[in-house]
């Protein structure tokens, strides 16, 4: 069973995304802040990380940077799920090594699931 780690501080969003991913047959773990996200990534070594950018304690940019700097977590694909969409932010996310990004407000739930399956396939 493939494992997904979801790092997101918005509780309602966490709940609904985790629910749908479990229904799709994935094992899902989650973290509500960047620091816990990093700890969980190292501990569980998921097949995919979904990462928000505006996070307490350690923001998503820093989490991404640290994930890619660590040989244990460098190769885990990361999908950034965010509502930030300036060209500067997108360039930074991709330069830091994110596999792709999704602007939450532009996607329906099923689109997000489809993108996750595409990256994991």
């Amino acid at each position: 069973m493939q494992k997904i780690l979801f790092i997101e501080d918005e509780g309602a969003l966490q709940k609904v995304v985790c629910e749908v991913l479990v229904q799709e047959g994935y094992k899902v773990t989650s973290a509500l802040d960047g620091e816990k996200g990093l700890v969980e990534a190292k501990a569980s070594h998921p097949d995919l990380i979904l990462l928000d950018l505006i996070l307490p304690k350690l923001d998503g940019f820093s989490v991404l940077e640290k994930l890619k700097a660590d040989s244990d977590t460098r190769d885990i694909p990361v999908i950034v799920l965010t509502n930030l969409e300036t060209a500067k932010d997108i360039e930074k996310i991709l330069a830091l090594g994110a596999t792709t990004y999704l602007v939450k407000a532009s996607y329906r739930l099923e689109d997000v699931v489809a993108k996750i399956k595409e990256v994991l396939s």
Binding site: E19, N83, L84, T86
Partner: protein
């Protein structure tokens, strides 16, 4: 900075004039000191004003970023939760429950559209609207969008017809924003059409431009309102009587986006006799 430089030169000249006319060294020193104090005070005020302007601009930029996240995140949560419920992923909803949940979905989508429009308006006002310059095949976009909007049009008893299907029309622009322009014009045409009406979308080429017309046979725009139609938050009086939905930002954004892609936009309309909104983009 120009103001500061000019002011400094004037005070140097005045100081030189005083020094050249006056023989008494004490008077010269006093005059120079007064002028120097005056220059320093005015410089401080100019620099302070400049810093406040920069800070205010930064706050506006931060507002767009903050609003992007803080407003859209909870709305995204609601949207995805409703998608979960309406997708029957938590069990089948009764038809009554589905009705209520769909009402919430409609309201949420209106909120998301409003936030998106306000953010676009903010970017436009600050000169920060960034449009891609990709090769875009316009006819495909128009056909796809008409297909996507057919169900919405039918629900309003309106038919959308694509009147001309020319050869491929390639333009240089931002596909997402071109879709937004078309969706805006077609949505307006649907809203302001009479029931059982038809909307015609026509694509032609004129010189080096692709020209798209969206024509409805609905309520039209009164003559006195026409000069305001592209202004922010403007909604024609006859429209307000018909329906209160709509935020009055769509056409302001349409115009800014089309102009940003080096295009043109306009309309013709007669009160109670329909309107044709058109836009043109340079062909490549």
């Amino acid at each position: 900075m120009l103001l500061l430089g000019s002011f400094t030169i004037v005070t140097i000249l005045v100081t030189y004039y005083i020094a050249s006319k006056e023989r008494n060294p004490e008077i010269i020193i006093a005059s120079v000191s007064i002028v120097a104090a005056f220059v320093v005070s005015v410089s401080f005020l100019i620099v302070r004003t400049f810093e406040e302007l920069v800070h205010s601009n930064m706050l506006k930029t931060d507002f767009v970023s903050i609003a992007s996240h803080q407003l859209r995140t909870p709305l995204s949560s609601i949207r995805w939760t409703l998608d979960l419920l309406l997708g029957n992923r938590t069990g089948e909803l009764s038809s009554k429950q589905r009705g209520f949940v769909e009402s919430i979905q409609d309201s949420n989508e209106r909120m998301m559209d409003l936030v998106r429009d306000l953010l676009n308006v903010s970017r436009i006002d600050q000169g920060r609207l960034v449009l891609k310059r990709d090769k875009v095949e316009l006819t495909n976009i128009v056909e796809d969008l008409i297909r996507e909007m057919s169900a919405y049009a039918e629900a309003n008893h309106i038919t959308i017809a694509l009147k001309k299907r020319p050869r491929k029309m390639n333009v240089l622009g931002d596909e997402q924003y071109i879709k937004m322009v078309l969706e805006n014009l077609i949505d307006n045409a649907i809203r302001y059409s009479n029931k059982e009406g038809t909307i015609e979308v026509t694509i032609t080429s004129k010189s080096n431009y692709v020209h798209v017309d969206v024509t409805d046979h609905g309520v039209g725009i009164p003559k006195n309102d026409q000069k305001h139609i592209f202004e922010k938050f403007f909604r024609s009086r006859n429209i307000m009587r018909q329906q209160t939905e709509g935020n009055g930002l769509g056409l302001f954004i349409v115009r800014a986006v089309v102009r940003g892609m080096k295009g043109r936009v306009g309309f013709t309309s007669k009160d109670s006799n329909g309107s044709t909104f058109w836009f043109e983009l340079p062909l490549i």
